[in-house]
Amino acid sequence: MATQAATRVEQNACSIRGLTVVYRVERHEYAAVQDVDLDIPSGEITAVIGESGSGKTTLAMAMLNAVQPPGRIAAGSVVYPTAGDILRLSGKRLRRLRGDSISMVFQTSQNSLNPLKRIGGQAMDLARSHGRDPRGTLREARDLCAKMSLDADRVLTSYQHELSGGMRQRVGIMLALVLQPEVVLLDEPTTALDVLSQSEVLQILRDLQRERRFSAVLITHDMGVVAELADRVAVMYAGRIVERGRTRDVLIRPDHPYTRALIRSIPRLSGDLSEAVPLPGLPPSLTTIPDHGCVFRARCAYRMPICDTVQPPLESVGPDHDSACYLEGFPSD
């Protein structure tokens, strides 16, 4: 791990290509995720930000090949370097891959922890089911606990109900990292936490990531969490990625009107509050996503005739920065 950290590996921990996930509603199939291409670079945290109904959670489920009916993966591939395309796996090999290649931290970890088993026991179970050495895994678990300022002796012998919300979330992170998967999926890891616990968990994730250089996908609706944690960000709207790039670039020079409006709609502690402008309109629901043309045009202040016809493709607007908008350069405001 240490050597990996030293030399930055120029490869992807996961590549998503042409991913389309549809849901069946009353004899019609609607795309919750439409034609998504996304690379998860090794050793970095890639955020997927979007509102409810943007498809970010469906995307995460597809990365685990765990889309539940009435949903179905209609097209595309999700390739992990060692295991290949997860969408072609099933049964035992699929379960193996979940944990070996990709693991998940849930919004509410208490729902994912076994209430009848001690935390240490759960770590050992995890190791056994993936053919790892339980003792080594337990050592790793202790090490992770220490890094997260958890008392390992106490936590590993506890049941989940004996831990506080923030501690449970840290335990969830520990269990997700203990098998050293290629990608960790963080699904709204701090949303259910209180403000102070949130900042602590963010700090822990940041420190762990800096030290271990794991690759992660962060699913969130909160631009603040993205800014604090993610190296890169993909902005999702109505099932499509409308902008992606390095977090700093997207924050300072957002190109897509949605990203711009989203950032401007966040009240901030610094600066002039009159700069905060609400985003007009409402995000579309699954059944009302326009099937042609730009998905954002109904709320866009810069709508042009061409926006009604064809969804703009993601095109480079700067180094390592893509955006799906026909508009070139913003009117200054």
Partner: protein, 339 residues
């Protein structure tokens, strides 16, 4: 003007089969809200801010203390008068979907309280219908669009607007918004906050904004006050931007430190810190209630209980033995220090 005077509230908690432990939700809170003013109650969940909001709206009793509304003490007033006064203080709940009856249309939800008023003041049916449409327009909704829908047909933001419209049916003087945007999509939140500001300006309705989100509190109460509550006690109380940009209490500072920084657009405050451990609600703490988590706590903090004292030069109330301004709040990256 509404004044809360030394409000105390204790819940009987149950910790085990036989043992009970009292939860001190409020340990003597005094504060005031100007007519048409804005006050943000800030704190973690479990700090007592929600209980305080419910007491204000008359949905919860208090053990001791008094509420004085425009000079009338609620303790002394007869029950009818007390109900009438507290009805002017309306609570906006966190979850707008739960706050609306799922099997009644928006029209029914709005006209029912209006009919009650019409009966009391002798207005006719036409007034009820017209007023319902008017209120929906005030909260930024198209009456034709939403009137005959059910709550599940609306988006979160629309539902919260309907809830606000329903609160307006009784012509309230105060809206108590309890985490009113935390369950709403990010892109729609600012719209609701703006609506609250709008109601203050246009209808002179005071807003008590209960939240853990300091930035939202700043937006709503920019020209008002922030009151930071921890474990049922006020820790810091002052003008909003003063408290945000020059906090003196370590608890306020830890809340401000926890606000995510939009790195690139903002720079984190140089003194930013994280408290020592998580809030354990049931735990008994001697001395200052924050001393077990405070990174700056010294001997005296663990022994003596600090009082809420004014700091003259800052026109601020503070509960800490060592009030110290720390720069924990993010500042704009463009260089200029925020006002």
């Amino acid at each position: 003007m509404i004044e809360l005077i030394d409000i105390k509230k204790t819940f009987q908690g149950r910790t085990g089969m036989l043992s009970t432990a009292d939860v001190h939700a409020l340990r003597g809170v005094s504060l005031s809200i100007e007519n048409g003013g804005a006050l943000a109650l800030l704190g973690e969940s479990g700090c007592g801010k929600t209980t305080l909001g419910r007491i204000l709206a008359g949905l919860e009793t208090y053990d001791s203390g008094d509420i004085v509304i425009d000079g009338t003490s609620l303790n002394g007033a007869p029950k009818g008068e007390r109900d009438r006064l507290q009805r002017k203080i309306q609570l906006i709940h966190q979850d707008p979907y739960a706050a609306l009856n799922p099997v009644r249309t928006i029209e029914k939800s709005l006209t029912a309280p209006l009919k009650l008023r019409a009966k009391q003041s002798g207005k006719d049916k036409g007034w009820v219908e017209q007023r319902a449409r008017e209120l929906l327009t005030i909260v930024g909704l198209d009456p034709d669009e939403v009137l005959y829908k059910y709550p599940h047909n609306l988006s979160g933001g629309q539902r919260q607007r309907v809830v606000i419209a329903r609160a307006l049916t009784v012509d309230p003087t105060v809206l108590v918004a309890d985490e009113a945007v935390s369950m709403i999509d990010v892109s729609l939140r600012l719209g609701i906050l703006q609506l609250l500001n709008d109601l203050r300006r246009r209808l002179k309705i005071a807003v008590v904004f209960i939240t853990h989100d300091v930035a939202a509190a700043r937006y709503v109460a920019l020209d008002g006050d922030i009151c930071v509550i921890y474990r049922g006690e006020i820790f810091e109380y002052g003008r909003t931007d003063d408290v945000i940009h020059a906090p003196v209490n370590p608890y306020t500072q830890s809340l401000l430190s926890a606000v995510p920084v939009l790195v690139g657009l903002e720079r984190p405050g140089p003194d930013r810190f994280i408290p020592l451990e998580e809030l354990v609600t049931g735990r008994a703490v001697s001395g200052c209630l924050f001393s077990d988590r405070c990174p700056f706590a010294v001997e005296v903090c663990h022994q003596d209980h600090p009082d809420l004292l004014p700091i003259e030069e800052l026109s601020r109330l503070n509960r800490c033995f060592f009030p110290t301004v720390r720069h924990v709040t993010a500042v704009s990256a463009s260089g200029e220090a925020s006002a």
